[in-house]
């Protein structure tokens, strides 16, 4: 694509532009950007830097998997609304259309003094600017009795792909009138409405195939995202199937036994057919290895997503601790574009415009019953701060809910094109 500049009169926009950044001359040849993690944040950042710098910046994207399955819409796969192949994306066009060097490997080390990244395969990759978007890992010991070695018995399905497939297969194999237990995570976690959209989708499947089955949620949180909307939907569509135990009822005191397939909720032991354990989360481990985390997450500056620990390292998406934005694919994508603009400015002297962020999360409750919540954000000295937001209302009519679902499908097509090209 090409921009016709005949209208470029610079009408007052210059005022909005931050002071011209210092161009950081690369010591050798073209400036180098390395991105760790080819998900919603990382792939977007790599794509925008490569696309907009038109070859002036060397971009390397490190991502172990060849097919990235989006967590967004993975619940719809569980509900039978999407195929697994609908949510799989490859890196071909990032490489071919934008000249990004895609390396399928794990990053296992970051040397911030030498400015290099070490790969599991043995190589090292030098950088001028490093962008980390490794998503999440789970906090060890968060749910007593569970660790990642138990994920084949009690899947989390909070990283999409084989885990999601396993969970779907387990739901399909539930005996008549069986019990599905979800151990929900404490805040903050990836995709605040995610567990509850999942419950809706599981209920949708069970209502059709196994209507006497039950769903029990053990939840350490008092409240959750879009709660009124979900609870209304559960009552209207899945009356009696879903029960949630909040902290008042011991939902914060859960132990599991993956071998026995039991869940102990505040002393009362349930034998379950499927147990979906979604433990407490933290930044993807490489962020900690790089030394940019403080506690579970990596604090960043809101203006450009640079790490508070190192101005040449940026952290995007779920791994970052930025302020008010929820951990979502939409947020990661939004942050990536702010970061890409800043990184490009720092490396090539291109104009840097003020940060602006937004997010909208759609959820599906049942067929053609979509709801959404969204907000816009700005960068302040201290954090990414919420400006304004909205949420779907209870009691909306069917036509609006259907339009909202259709809109979410449009969004999915849009964002995945924006991430993967």
């Amino acid at each position: 694509m090409k921009i016709d500049r005949r209208h470029f009169l610079g009408t007052g926009v210059a005022a909005a532009v931050l002071s011209a950044p210092m161009v950081q001359a690369a010591s050798h040849g073209k400036p180098k950007v390395v991105v760790i993690g080819g998900g919603a944040g990382g792939a977007t950042a790599a794509r925008y830097i490569a696309k907009d710098s038109k070859g002036e910046i060397d971009v390397t994207l490190i991502e172990p998997t060849r097919t990235y399955y989006t967590c967004f819409f993975s619940n719809l796969y569980l509900g039978g609304f999407k195929e697994l192949s609908d949510i799989g994306h490859t890196y071909g066009s990032l490489a071919s259309s934008h000249g990004i060097n895609v390396v399928h490997d794990w990053a296992v080390g970051v040397d911030r003094d030498a400015k290099t990244v070490t790969l599991a395969g043995g190589g090292t990759v030098p950088y001028d600017k490093l962008i980390l978007s490794p998503g999440i890992d789970f906090v060890e010991g968060a749910v007593p009795g569970w660790d990642v070695s138990a994920q084949n018995k009690m899947p989390h399905a909070y990283k999409a792909g084989s885990q999601t497939e396993l969970l779907k297969a387990q739901i399909g194999a539930m005996p008549e009138g069986g019990l599905f237990v979800m151990v929900a995570p404490p805040n903050p976690f990836r995709c605040p409405p995610g567990p509850y959209e999942r419950v809706s989708m599981v209920a949708h499947v069970l209502k059709e195939t196994n209507p006497t089955a039950k769903i029990l949620i053990a939840d350490p949180k008092e409240k959750f995202s879009k709660q009124g909307l979900f609870e209304e939907g559960w009552t209207n569509h899945y009356g009696g199937m879903v029960e949630r135990l909040g902290p008042d009822f011991g939902g914060d005191n859960v132990t599991v036994d993956p071998d026995a397939m039991t869940v102990d909720i505040d002393g009362s032991v349930e034998e379950a057919d499927v147990v979906n354990v979604i433990p407490a989360m933290k930044a993807g481990r490489i962020a900690e290895i790089a030394g940019v985390t403080d506690g579970n997450w990596a604090p960043v500056n809101a203006a450009d997503m640079s790490s508070k620990a190192d101005p040449d390292v940026y952290v995007l998406g779920d791994a970052s601790q930025q302020g008010d934005m929820p951990k979502s694919g939409f947020s990661a994508n939004s942050q990536a574009k702010v970061c890409a603009n800043a990184v490009r400015g720092a490396l090539t002297g291109s104009k840097v415009f003020p940060a602006r962020f937004s997010n909208t999360c759609w959820s599906l409750i049942t067929t053609d019953d979509g709801v959404k919540v969204g907000a816009t954000y700005e960068a302040t000295e201290e954090k990414i701060a919420k400006i304004d937001g909205f949420v779907s209302q209870t009691g909306e009519d069917a036509a609006l809910r259907k339009a909202t679902y259709e809109e979410s499908e449009g969004w999915y097509a849009g964002i995945t094109a924006d991430i993967f090209g």
């Binding site: 694509m1 909208t360 907000a375 009691g395 259907k402 809109e407 969004w411």
Partner: protein, 253 residues
């Protein structure tokens, strides 16, 4: 729904071409064709619809205290299943349509009003239909006002109404900076595809700049309802809207 919007499209420019030169009329019809499925009410003029309802009044009541007459009352019509009003004796045709799952939404109502027998063969309703798509949309806009719960925000069709909104000529005259627009556009492309697909979410590339600016100001001023767009446009300044318009108008594939 889509069918209703399509059929309305060619007639629109004559209605609201305030800022629209003749040369844009064709382009506008084209954009409306690309419109996402929306609720038909935002296309229609409910006041006109109230007058059109005169033809229906002999058989149908609507509004506070409406009761069944020759035909069922039309309160809470949108979203309800055909043939489902308690206490009304429906024709076999309607009972069948209802049990097969016919529900009243903008699209099905549009088809029904256009030609009742085509949608429900055998209906007792002896009304030939409003063939004019504008009449259909206006009537639906009127009926919709008796169906919406207060919490229900009818979301605007994204492209149909832009030209109806008043924007200060000084704002329209701002020449946008496409480079700034290119940066700002990245916020749009999270949902709107840079290619011109319009599935679920409409295309926004290659719009005439003026139409784009008017549409964005309509969202900004809440003259058109759509929560995401009201929020996004709400914090765009006049310069920024101009910059986006300049950028999207000149994109080449």
């Amino acid at each position: 729904m889509r069918a209703v919007i399509r059929s309305i499209a060619p007639a629109l420019p004559s209605r609201g071409g305030k800022f629209l030169g003749e040369k844009f009329a064709f382009a506008l019809a084209f954009f409306v064709l690309l419109a996402m499925p929306g609720t038909a009410d935002d296309l229609g003029d409910g006041k006109r619809g109230a007058a059109l309802f005169a033809k229906c009044k002999g058989c149908h009541q609507v509004g506070k205290g409406a009761e069944n007459g020759v035909g069922p009352h039309l309160n809470e019509l949108f979203g309800r299943r055909a043939g489902s009003v308690a206490g009304f004796k429906y024709s076999k045709a309607f009972q069948r349509a209802g049990s097969k799952g016919l529900e009243w939404h903008a699209d099905t109502l549009g088809t029904f009003i256009a030609n009742p027998r085509s949608l429900v063969p055998g209906t007792r309703m002896s009304f030939r239909g409003y063939d004019d798509p504008i009449d259909q949309a206006d009537l639906l806009a009127y009926l919709r006002t008796f169906s919406v719960s207060p919490a229900d925000i009818p979301e605007a069709d994204p492209t149909a109404r832009g030209i109806d909104h008043d924007v200060d000529p000084a704002i329209l005259a701002i020449a946008g900076d496409p480079e700034y627009g290119a940066y700002l556009s990245s916020e749009c492309t999270t949902c709107h595809q840079a290619e011109d697909s319009d599935a679920g979410i409409p295309s926004i590339v290659l719009w005439p700049e003026e139409v784009f600016v008017i549409a964005m100001h309509a969202y900004k001023d809440n003259a058109r309802a759509h929560p995401v767009m009201n929020m996004i446009a709400g914090r765009l300044g006049d310069e920024e809207i101009a910059a986006l318009a300049a950028y999207f108008a000149t994109l080449e594939h």
